[in-house]
């Protein structure tokens, strides 16, 4: 029972039931620990995805290279895309959100802590299942988009595609559960006074992304299950020669796939909307425009999916509609960019590594955005689709944009999460090396693409004239790897020997900086009260409250014993702090679901064995659910005390 009493007068830190060592991590329901688990596991997957990219770049560095066989090359680009999107970028954003969102809104945890634990375990097991495929006949080799009919059993006979379906399925369930958790947490658990229009922009973007996930992911899940049935149980959803429709797959996939782009980029737009004002020492310019243009992007994101399909031949009307809708998205995106620029304008810029990454995000994202606008035009698109030009565009958006945004966030919040500062000198080396080598890797792809180099080819002939651009890209990618090694070294040394981080190292405006670094398990001893969009600046600079947009003047007063800097409403302060107990139930349920998944993969080929595995999985899942129900009952605020 993890209930801690706060006695009047002094604040005694609540004693919280945390198991020591590994058991503490395996049984945790603390959003901060789960956030760190997301970040660490996603970064490991991210590095693996990076190694896959390096292998591809080595293969393409010279013409007619035989470093990788065609089949291994196809496995590499399929797994690179799948890994970076589902196991790298998305969970990096979820990890930052998991850690920071409850702190930013003044909550003690996510709304459903055990569901949160289920999400992290399903994500990890889903990722592991995808990688198991390498050892049982070969990873999926049909591209992360898995176009029909190449995915059918006769054309892709290994179990790789099945592992892809189930692996993506598990991470998809994790994402949907996580998104529901974010929505309920953000809508219901904000501190008193934090209206929607006072929420930090990072929280806004996470809320929008959660809604996108809820609408987009089920479509992918349904499509992949249809594919599973096509492969094993004789349905013909995507088989044109038997009455199905291969283009249907493309519609379903991109109906998920394009909103997915915004799932990846919007949280990082939220990050830099926090980082830029902090290090410009100015409030964000046009808060409402930044917030609601995010809503507009989230909405429009569902109306543009067929711009991935201009070459299919949907007809001029459909192409015109989806082209126009794609152009339209440039409007809210441009609004954001001008607001960020205006935020920096005449600010007192503090060029920390985090800030450099935020500025670099804007410039690289603009390049990716401009190539995106050209691709939104159907006639230009038909020329450039499936060429390296698209590879360049997409990496400027997702690497130059999203990854750099994640780094801005990691350098910004690392002190909060670990209690140690990262080394700024190494950080700047990493930043400049990464910026240069990123451009070295991906800019030449615009050129090779315009010269006709198709995507997803494992080799090319010397006479094609793409040698130089490919060699430069390969050299760039190797330098990029060095930048990541510098980051890894920085993290590993700083976490042990870095300077101790104060609670508020950057003079932040949002609530996470009000608590110690790292925050106590219960986050806030007393729920803070919010009067403006910048509650901590209100507290630190009460004379600036009008600039801050606060409607009520805050009361200047000495800081409390926990230095959270907030006045405490006495009746609320007397409430015991209620935290969920640690439990293995979500882990057990996830193990059960994973075994069930293995059974499903082999049901078509090894009926009896697979069916027994499914039964075992269901039993383990049922055990987990029972223990889950028990612990929820024990933990209920009305039980016991």
């Amino acid at each position: 029972m993890a209930i801690a009493e706060r006695t009047a007068g002094t604040v005694s830190p609540p004693s919280v039931n945390v198991r020591p060592g590994w058991a503490g991590w395996l049984s945790t329901t603390d959003h901060k620990r789960i956030g760190i688990m997301y970040l660490v596991s996603a970064f490991v997957f991210f590095l693996i995805g990076g190694i896959e990219a390096l292998l591809m770049r080595i293969q393409l560095g010279t013409p007619d290279n035989t470093f990788l066989t065609p089949d291994v090359y196809n496995q590499m680009f399929t797994m690179h895309g799948t890994t970076m999107i589902f196991l790298g970028l998305m969970p990096l954003n979820v990890g930052l959100g998991n850690y920071i969102v409850p702190l930013m809104i003044g909550a003690r945890d996510m709304a459903f802590p055990r569901l949160n634990a289920l999400s992290i375990w399903l994500f990890i097991f889903g990722g592991l299942m995808l990688y198991v495929s390498f050892f049982v006949g070969g990873a999926p080799n049909v591209g992360w988009f898995a176009y029909a009919p190449l995915t059918q059993k006769q054309f892709a006979p290994t179990a790789g595609v099945d592992y892809w379906i189930i692996g993506i399925g598990l991470t998809g369930v994790a994402s949907i559960a996580g998104a529901l958790n974010f929505i309920v947490t953000i809508l219901n658990m904000r501190a008193p006074g934090m209206t929607l229009n006072r929420m930090p922009l990072f929280v806004w973007m996470q809320l929008i992304v959660a809604f996108i996930v809820i609408f987009a992911f089920p479509v992918l899940t349904v499509a992949t299950i249809q594919l599973l049935f096509d492969r094993h149980f004789g349905t013909r959803f995507f088989l044109p020669n038997l009455g199905g429709d291969a283009v249907l797959w493309q519609h379903l996939f991109w109906f998920f796939g394009h909103p997915e782009v915004y799932i990846l980029i919007l949280p990082t737009m939220g990050i830099i909307s926090e980082v830029l004002p902090t290090f410009s020492r100015k409030p964000i310019f046009g808060y409402a425009f930044v917030a609601y243009s995010g809503v507009a992007i989230g909405f429009l994101g569902f109306l543009v999916w067929a711009h991935h399909m201009f070459a299919v031949g949907l007809g001029p009307l459909a192409n015109a509609f989806f082209g126009a809708a794609s152009f339209l998205i440039a409007v809210p995106t441009g609004v954001k960019i001008f607001n960020w620029l205006a935020t920096m304008w005449q600010g007192s810029l503090n060029l920390t590594t985090s800030m450099l990454y935020a500025i670099s995000f804007i410039s690289m994202f603009v390049i990716g955005g401009i190539s995106g606008i050209t691709l939104a035009s159907p006639p230009i698109n038909v020329q450039q689709t499936d060429s390296y030009y698209v590879v360049a565009h997409m990496h400027y958006v997702l690497f130059g944009g999203a990854i750099q945004g994640v780094f801005a966030g990691v350098f910004y919040w690392f002190p909060k999460m670990t209690g140690r500062m990262l080394n700024e000198r190494l950080g700047k080396w990493q930043f400049w090396l990464m910026l240069i080598s990123f451009n070295l890797t991906f800019f030449p792809m615009h050129l090779s693409g315009n010269e006709g180099m198709p995507r997803r080819i494992y080799t090319y002939e010397s006479e094609m004239g793409w040698n130089l651009w490919n060699l430069i890209s390969t050299i760039g990618s190797l330098l990029l790897a060095v930048a990541f090694l510098i980051f890894l070294w920085n993290v590993l040394t700083s976490i042990r020997r870095g300077p101790i981080a104060p609670a508020d190292p950057w003079d932040g405006a949002t609530l996470e900086w009000a608590v110690s670094s790292p925050p106590p398990v219960y986050n806030f001893a007393v729920t803070p009260r919010v009067r403006s969009r910048r509650p901590l600046w209100d507290e630190k600079y009460p004379h600036l409250h009008e600039v801050n947009g606060s409607h009520e003047a805050p009361v200047a007063r000495p800081r409390g014993p926990l230095h959270d800097g907030f006045e405490h409403e006495t009746p609320a302060a007397m409430e015991p702090i209620h935290l969920p107990s640690p439990t293995y139930a979500p882990l057990i349920v996830s193990v059960g679901i994973m075994i069930l998944g293995f059974g499903i993969i082999y049901l078509g080929d090894f009926g009896l064995v697979a069916a027994s595995a499914m039964l075992v999985g269901l039993l383990i899942m049922a055990m987990g659910v029972l223990s889950w129900v028990r612990i929820s009952h024990v933990d209920s605020p009305h039980h016991g005390h």
């Binding site: 066989t69 065609p70 089949d71 196809n74 080799n141 049909v142 591209g143 176009y147 190449l150 006769q154 054309f155 006979p157 020669n241 070459a311 689709t385 499936d386 060429s387 006709g452 198709p454 995507r455 997803r456 080819i457 494992y458 080799t459 090319y460």
Partner: protein, 160 residues
């Protein structure tokens, strides 16, 4: 080159655009959509003379596995996994541009498909051992003669 990812040999796919006048195009379409006539004639490849009619019988023999994957219009070969081989003799290349078409290359293709085209599914069946046990040199020559016999009469301009 092939734009949309199509499998293991994606990097090797080549397409040719052949321009003809409209009347000739219409005649070509008409021929292509009419099932080929009954095979007849012989063809000598690498010293062995194959017989087209015998070749068709081998092709349609379920034990020889061809029709498990391939289709030829107007016969009971209706396989869906591999390419449709109707009017194969009028092709200009083998395996989407990997080899120029000739009866000699076709014979080589049947024996060495896995070496010539990565990811070729036919090589799962046509291993050297399987060929040794199930297809004699004479039978391969007959098959080549059959496939080569299916030609459309519209001649296409030579490749530039």
């Amino acid at each position: 080159m092939c734009a949309e990812f199509c499998g293991e040999a994606h990097a090797l796919m080549r397409f040719r655009v052949i321009a003809v006048d409209e009347a000739e195009f219409k005649r070509w379409i008409e021929q292509k959509t009419t099932p080929p006539a009954a095979p007849a004639g012989t063809l000598t490849v690498n010293g062995l003379t194959g017989d087209a009619a015998r070749g068709q019988a081998i092709f349609l023999d379920a034990r020889k596995q061809c029709i498990a994957c391939h289709a030829v219009e107007g016969t009971n070969a209706r396989g869906q996994i591999g390419p449709n081989l109707t009017y194969y003799g009028s092709r200009q290349t083998i395996a989407a541009g990997i080899l120029p078409y000739s009866p000699e290359n076709l014979e080589r293709w049947m024996r060495e498909a896995p070496k010539l085209k990565p990811g070729n599914l036919m090589s799962r069946v046509l291993t050297p051992q399987w060929i040794k046990a199930n297809l004699s040199d004479q039978e391969i020559a007959d098959l080549v003669a059959y496939l080569d016999s299916m030609k459309v009469s519209v001649t296409l301009p030579p490749e530039r």
